[in-house]
Symmetry: C2
Subunit: 288 residues, 2 copies
């Protein structure tokens, strides 16, 4: 597997960054996770727009323009002979010196990774997954804007590890007011009496690209869908629950801390959105 590091393609074992990089020193960087399907990249422009907004929100300067980033991703996919790929772009605020939090940093460091996409086990998808309400709270907006997809993710790592220790697939984070926000790497939706609801993003969570596509699909299908603050008690009355992200697509949740969601099996709205989202991805990527 070749990896793009600052304009060069290098082998995986040579893919390194300086220990003086501000990514390694301070988590001072941002990333995006993307997918290629049938050789086409799903909503590349939306991901690059979000990367640019993340950069602007933390005043990270010197990001290459979208055309160059897109070309670099396509080159990497071609070099690695990939068709269905998982891609990660990481951009950090260049190099510094330990202790110099605010210092100038020179050019940003750019790393792009692309490897064969590893789909979820179909049995997991059919059965639906378990989630846990995390003991870790969502990072408040006045600490760090949740629309910044930053690499300072230790609290999410700890939430995810706690979830795995509890036998769950993902952790759901509440905010300080007890409202649902998102998962550690996913957006959260619930379906209540046919109505699709998700917490506002940007606002309390990351505005996911898959999340946005699901809202488009719902609107196009005439399904009622809204972004609104959701107290944790909304989980109790929800008939269906699902997660979205680039890798998981639309993933049914059938248990919350051991209690079944609705009938304990993936519900009809979730299954329809999962199918329609997959169709949309293939349509946009493979026939593009």
């Amino acid at each position: 597997v070749w990896v793009h590091v600052n304009g060069r393609l290098v082998e995986e074992t040579e893919a390194t960054v300086s220990v003086f990089g501000r990514g390694f020193l301070y988590g001072d960087g941002i990333f995006e996770s993307l997918r290629a399907i049938g050789g086409g990249i799903f909503r590349l422009d939306r991901h690059l727009d979000r990367l640019r907004r993340s950069a602007a929100r933390i005043a990270l300067e010197g990001l290459p323009d979208g055309g160059r980033l897109g070309a670099a991703i396509r080159d990497l996919i071609a070099r690695n002979r990939l068709v269905d790929a998982r891609i990660r772009i990481t951009v950090t605020r260049g190099s510094g010196r330990p202790g110099d939090y605010a210092g100038a940093a020179g050019d940003p460091t750019l790393v792009i990774y692309a490897a064969p996409f590893q789909p979820l086990d179909p049995a997991v998808r059919e059965r639906g997954v378990a989630v846990t309400l995390s003991s870790v709270r969502q990072v408040p907006a006045d600490v760090l804007d949740p629309a910044v997809k930053s690499i300072s993710r230790l609290s999410a790592v700890l939430a995810r590890r706690e979830a795995v220790a509890r036998g769950a697939f993902e952790a759901i984070l509440l905010d300080a007011g007890g409202h649902l926000t998102e998962g550690t790497v996913s957006n959260l939706f619930l379906v209540d009496a046919g109505r699709i609801r998700t917490p506002p993003a940007p606002g309390v969570g990351l505005p996911g690209v898959t999340r946005e596509a699901v809202l488009e699909i719902a609107a196009g299908a005439g399904l009622q869908a809204s972004e609104e603050p959701l107290p944790v008690s909304a989980l109790d009355s929800a008939g269906e629950l699902f997660l979205t992200n680039t890798s998981w697509e639309v993933l049914p949740v059938t248990r919350v801390d051991g209690r079944p969601v609705g009938a304990g099996v993936p519900g009809p709205v979730t299954l329809r959105l999962a199918r329609d989202f997959r169709d949309l991805m293939r349509r946009e990527c493979v026939h593009a």
Copy 2:
């Protein structure tokens, strides 16, 4: 300058870590900043204790024992022919794969950096520094334990950059309840009618090694000192204000967002603690 990377001493340009390291991917690691003075390391055991506590709190396994870490630091100082040095130990949760937040990671990655100590300009110390009340809030304890000195520090980076943009030297972070917590890289003390006060740590901030030494000095000198929750309004009545950290030692603060603290010059309690702390450092390090 030689750098320690996973048991090997390498030149600075060769000091790299994998882009698959969980430090670079997720900020999944911890660090300590230490000083050598006259060849001796100031309170090495306290720093290594704190590193071990940070590791335990994030369940980072495989940290080398204190004896091996201490020997590695001493070797590095000797190899770099340093007498007065700034040292940083960084430990991350080894390597992973993008997307695998909770995955096993193998051995941790250990990086130790030691370079000549760059003291503050004495004129800055004599005049005292300006601080700003940050628009960035302290990371709440239910998001990430503030006693964990983690490398997921983007919010602190942004606070520090804001401070510099406002012409201040350091940012003071409030918690969600409007209480003083700490600076981005320092602990905060105030002196009010002869009483020394600092926010509780662990609790709302990092239990700094310099902070602890200052509390010892105060107790030994019969000065009244307490750890207590301090509303932001405590700044208005404080006659003196100072910051502590390993590099800055006891650093007088003479302005808060443009307003003078007390008489606008370093106060007598601050100056005494600064002198006593410096004496303590030299006594413990040089004559050890």
